[in-house]
Symmetry: C2
Subunit: 367 residues, 2 copies
């Protein structure tokens, strides 16, 4: 029991995950309980099936981050079994938001695998009606929040935040899709690092990184107000601080995701890359264009965004020729240490471990 | 100026519609204003385009119903330009909810036309990324509500109501889709009038009929509380009363929609029917099965849900043979007068005109 943290770290995290997972049956029951919907039992049965297939699996870092962060920042008297359970509930709401977006993203991107099994729209030939199941899952978030938090002082803040994060993610997805509009060749002149950073900030960083920590802050009583907590710094400012760091981390995370889409091991990532064939504005494509000679740029113009395997192979060969794997390794190290520095520069604000814990989860990840 | 109401009715309604429409540019501006999203101008431009194509058009009965009802039920001192404008804003939120569901529904049902023009996913070969635009539109509802109502005493009630209505609609859509699961023949043994009524209650009636009136009630100060307003009747009970009548009206409306899908004039409805080819559980199919001889049932078993034109023609011929057009006319008259009776039976409650006005809008409609 007195082992140093480094040794117990992994075990503690497994325990957390088990505790988190143990709430899932209650989530399904809350969302599919008969009660007022007793006249449509088939829809309720279907909903349970949708949740079981889609809401569980993956790394669950987003969902777990709420309670982990809450335990670090809340005052000790707030930390008790009921509040931990509430933090887990909020974590599940984020996992639902994630699975809402993943179902839609996989249909739109034409991705057939997710978390090592067929994507929902490929499961039992479900097809496009999978969209409606995504809507059901999103609606579940608000049913859970209403059931468990409607009397909490931060209920309205939480609703507003979920709405804002949803809007941001959809705007990011829209930008992502605009980089290669339907029936057109990708517009490579728009593939700049600046644009890339905007896309990933909106489509990934807000909901994956800022959302869990912001929710834990609400639970700890830190809301978007001018209340002064730490020397001279308002709660609103604490949120702004966290947001800045967490958006950086989210962008880092998405660069990794882009790298793994091309160079990752499908048996580890559980999904099959589609970025090159779909002509996505990815970190790899942006860096490739920054470094390409005119003739290499011509290869990009000709083959990028063509779904045929031969074109995809040509692009992958170009990426290797440009040394992008080494560039990525260097980027990973330098970005990770830059983020560490930014965290340490917070002299008055949240406990640094909120950020370090999250960063440790994603550094050098292979899935 | 002193013409009797029957003569001014139409003109007044055109004025209302013009006033309602005149708010649309503000809606687009609210949703796409640069401000905090100045770093993603392309996404904002795209969003404006999505709204312009999808949010306008159609009959707009849902959107207009909020202000019409508000003017009937609110106490005179509440009725002023600012509150009428707020009622219109809420009306636009319902129109956004509608267009969110229509975009998704048209993708899922494979419907290529809507409101006399190509469905959004068919426009400029947009394809499946249209679904992300549906998500953007839904997120717009909450951005508008936050901007204009976050300080209203009924803000939380309204959010909860939009969430509940969204969940109900998605559950209804799930049931609708389950009547003919992907890659399977429709399960005609499940095509009962009871099941049909449940499907349409959830997929149509709540958001199209109860939602606008409930919002006008919130604005008028009638919330889900035990406050007693009329002799011995609580505000909660007023909502229950309205809900019961409005769900009946919504079911009536959906029967009409099903009839028009098969027998309507595309140049009037602005859409092309897909119900027979998709094997939907419709009012026509349920009544047909109730009346079918064993051999006619065999025709249904063989041809219903087959998208080939010859099968569709066979089913339409069967519907005619079974006299379903006359049955529908009789149903329309008897249901309309039954609903009128139910409205008149409300002795203590909302002004009957709230319901009569809405009913008048849909009786004998051809689009
Ligand atoms: Mg994808
Ligand atoms: Mg994508
Ligand atoms: Mg990816
Ligand atoms: Mg349809
Ligand atoms: Mg449909
Ligand atoms: Mg229809």
């Amino acid at each position: 029991a007195n082992l140093p943290p480094a040794k117990t770290g992994h075990v503690a995290s497994q325990d957390e995950k088990r505790e988190f997972m143990s709430l899932f049956p209650d989530i399904v029951r809350d969302l599919t309980e008969v009660g007022s919907l007793s006249d449509i039992p088939d829809a309720q049965k279907w909903y349970a099936k949708v949740l079981q297939y889609n809401a569980v699996g993956g790394k669950m870092n987003r969902g777990l981050a709420v309670s982990l962060s809450f335990k670090i920042i809340a005052s000790p008297e707030l930390i008790k079994p009921e509040t931990i359970r509430e933090a887990h509930l909020l974590g599940w709401c984020i996992e639902l938001l994630q699975s809402f977006f993943l179902i839609a993203d996989d249909i739109i991107d034409g991705s057939d695998m997710r978390r090592g099994k067929p994507s929902w729209h490929c499961h039992e030939n479900l097809g496009l009606s999978a969209f409606n199941d995504a809507i059901l899952i999103e609606a579940g978030i608000y049913k859970l929040l209403h059931k468990h938090f409607r009397n909490a002082p931060y209920y309205m803040d939480m609703l507003d935040l979920f709405h804002e994060m949803t809007m941001n993610t959809a705007l990011g997805q829209a930008l992502d899709l605009l980089s290669c509009p339907a029936g057109q060749r990708p517009n490579l002149s728009k593939f700049t690092m600046e644009r890339y950073n905007s896309i990933v900030k909106y489509k990934t960083a807000f909901y994956s990184f800022y959302l869990p920590i912001a929710l834990s802050m609400y639970m700890a009583g830190i809301r978007n107000t001018d209340n002064v907590r730490v020397a001279g710094i308002t709660d609103r400012e604490l949120h702004r601080q966290a947001r800045t760091i967490l958006v950086e981390m989210g962008q880092f995370f998405q660069v990794q995701d882009d790298y793994l889409d091309c160079f990752g091991d499908s048996s580890v990532t559980g999904k099959i890359g589609t970025d090159i064939g779909k002509g996505k504005c990815t970190w790899l494509s942006v860096v490739a264009l920054q470094r390409a000679s005119p003739s290499q740029r011509a290869v990009m113009e000709k083959h990028y965004g063509i779904p045929e395997q031969s074109s995809i192979d040509t692009i992958k060969a170009l990426y290797k020729e440009l040394g992008l794997r080494a560039t990525y390794r260097a980027y990973e190290d330098s970005t990770s240490s830059m983020i560490r520095t930014h965290i340490q520069q917070i002299s008055r604000g949240l406990n640094h471990n909120v950020f370090f814990n999250f960063l440790d989860k994603i550094h050098k990840r292979s899935r």
